[in-house]
């Protein structure tokens, strides 16, 4: 045990070059925005806002990252989040007794969480089987599966929103630990920690990296690629379901098109975090930093009401392309040395 600790500390101190780049970028964003807003950006209230908004995107990005590390991509994250949100809200409304006491309410919420996780796992199992066993390329499989999953969501709700949720969900999501750390942030931290544990400490995590590096060599090395890949998409589905619940708490309702605008940001977070779209490379720490950077940026823009919300899309796209160009240029420079 002692041995292992030493090993961990060593790896913690050894910050990867990509994370150094990200830390620098974060510092730059905070400084520039603080100056631009005359100091109000750096205030404590602003930090709370940052922490409040980023978790849903972050949790989605964690699922996306797992798929990308395994050499694929998971475009179902949005659909799963929406469907899990809708079904869980219906479920919660159905089983929540009227005038339930607080402990009962919390119990119901926990059961709902389990229900959402199950929905996510089933969706992930479906896509996972399509990819790992039927052999459909991840991109097409997840595009098609997201039509099916979202199609169920639309079919059930007729496209309208589910309102009047039990207040407990909203309360938990908007809860603030010590009046400072929002509940959503805690959820994100828990998810990030679990994914980090999976990737860094378990054999399954190791195998996900290996499949992403070279699926053939992985099979030839005796790993059960089909099982690992299916599991990867199941975990991604469960993370998406958690994000779906967070969204419902955030908006205090459920709808089949809530997650729509989250897809590009989720991929953007992964690319910014240094996850290699070709597989095999990516760290949770990178995701955490990338989420903080993007949310700072977005919160910063929110402080300039003259900039319309629509420009956000434009900016996300530009940042995504910009980051890819930067990565390629720096990689080429490295080669020329």
């Amino acid at each position: 045990m002692g041995k292992k600790k030493r090993f961990d500390v060593k790896s913690l101190l050894n910050i990867s070059s990509n994370n150094k780049k990200l830390l620098g970028m974060l510092l730059l964003v905070v400084i520039v925005l603080s100056i631009a807003t005359g100091g109000s950006f750096a205030g404590i209230g602003q930090f709370k806002l940052i922490a409040y908004l980023f978790p849903e995107m972050g949790v989605l990005a964690l699922g996306m990252m797992l798929a990308m590390v395994s050499g694929g991509i998971d475009l179902t994250v949005i659909a799963v989040a929406d469907l899990a949100g809708i079904l869980s809200c219906l479920f919660m409304k159905a089983i929540m007794p009227a005038d339930a006491a607080m402990p009962v309410q919390i119990l119901v919420l926990l059961v709902t969480l389990l229900f959402a996780l199950a929905i996510g796992a089933v969706c992930g199992l479906f896509t996972g089987i399509l990819i790992a066993r039927v052999g459909v390329p991840a991109m097409v499989a997840t595009l098609g599966a997201s039509d099916i999953i979202l199609g169920i969501a639309v079919g059930i709700t007729n496209g309208s929103s589910i309102k009047e949720l039990p207040p407990i969900l909203c309360r938990v999501v908007n809860f603030e630990l010590f009046g400072l750390i929002p509940g959503t942030t805690i959820v994100f931290i828990i998810c990030a920690a679990l994914v980090a544990f999976l990737l860094n400490m378990t054999a399954t995590g190791f195998k996900i990296y290996m499949i992403g590096s070279n699926a053939t060599a992985s099979e030839y090395s005796g790993s059960d690629n089909k099982k690992i890949l299916t599991l990867t998409y199941m975990i991604s589905g469960m993370l998406s379901a958690v994000a779906g619940l967070l969204m419902c708490g955030h908006f205090n309702s459920a709808r089949s098109d809530f997650g729509k605008s989250y897809l590009t940001p989720a991929i953007l977070i992964c690319v910014l975090a240094g996850v290699n779209p070709n597989g095999g490379v990516g760290k949770v720490s990178g995701i955490v930093l990338a989420v903080i950077i993007l949310q700072s940026l977005s919160s910063g823009f929110a402080m300039f009401p003259s900039i319309s919300d629509y420009y956000k899309n434009l900016i996300w796209g530009l940042v995504l392309i910009g980051i890819m160009i930067m990565n390629v240029v720096t990689a080429k420079k490295g080669q020329n040395k």
Partner: protein, 343 residues
Amino acid sequence: MKGKNLLKKNEFYIVIIIAVLACIIQAISGQFFTSNNLVDLLRSMIVPGMMAAGLFMVIVSGNIDVSFPYTAMLCMFAVTKWFSVINYQGPVFLAFLIAGLIGLVLGLLNGVLAAWLKLPTLIITLGTCTIFLGITQGVLQSSVISVLPAPMAKMAATNLFSVVNGETGLGSSMPVSILFLIAIYLIVGFIMKYTMLGRGIYAVGGDPVAAERAGFNVNFIRIFVFTFMGVVGGITGITQVTVSGMCQINFFDGYEMTIIAAVVLGGANIAGGSGTVIGTFLGVLLMKMISNNLILLGIPTNWSKFMTGILIIAGVSMSAYKSVLAKRRVASNILEDGHKEEA
């Protein structure tokens, strides 16, 4: 040998599926083989059909583009808005030309990024499509334009011919833009089959390294397919306006998926290198037959997304699983040679 070839061809099976489906719809509703339904079907194929032709090239070259619906959207709003503002009265042709040029620039951007960055084109075009959406919503502040500039409104009102169903009294008209659909398929078909460029697209999709060694300009080919897709996207944007008589931000919602699915259903390999333009056309036809006739089949519209998803997954699963099975077997017969020598 000829008959065997026919059985090997993917198009053959799609035609059979289409025929069977047509008979089923006819049997259930009695409304399939009616003049207005057929015209409606063709009419609804114009826009997705044009896009599919462009995307077909991109997919054969081993790439993917999800930005084209946004290209179409941007071009549609940019040109329509501009023409409304200047109260344009000249020939409608100019609208298509300008939209095509804007599309060309956007497609060129995709192509150059794809050739330069050599990253998965799904992610590149996902990035650019968000930019295009941002420009449309942010810069152009577009959502709906209900009054079109005169030349476009005039084209929208012009039809090649109209039919009326004697039984139901329902009518349907064939827009002029059906000619564009035909033209684009002829052009794409010609490029892919009869030009070295087209063969280069197949070659790059089959084996990019071998293509480079053979002397194809691989980067040019990549840039070309994306640029062509951009031009088609731009023209399609204006076509959509003249078909529907208005501009709406949600015209092309979910098109990226539907069109990719149509091309893949039409037999093109999503990994590149194979597929035919006729197959693509049939893929779009099949797709539209199902989505147009869901109601005739008794499926509520709210479930149409679900149905298309099922269709896509079923279509791609079959071809994917075939190659998975093939991988488990030894492809060419090693043993056979031995018999020949013994004999």
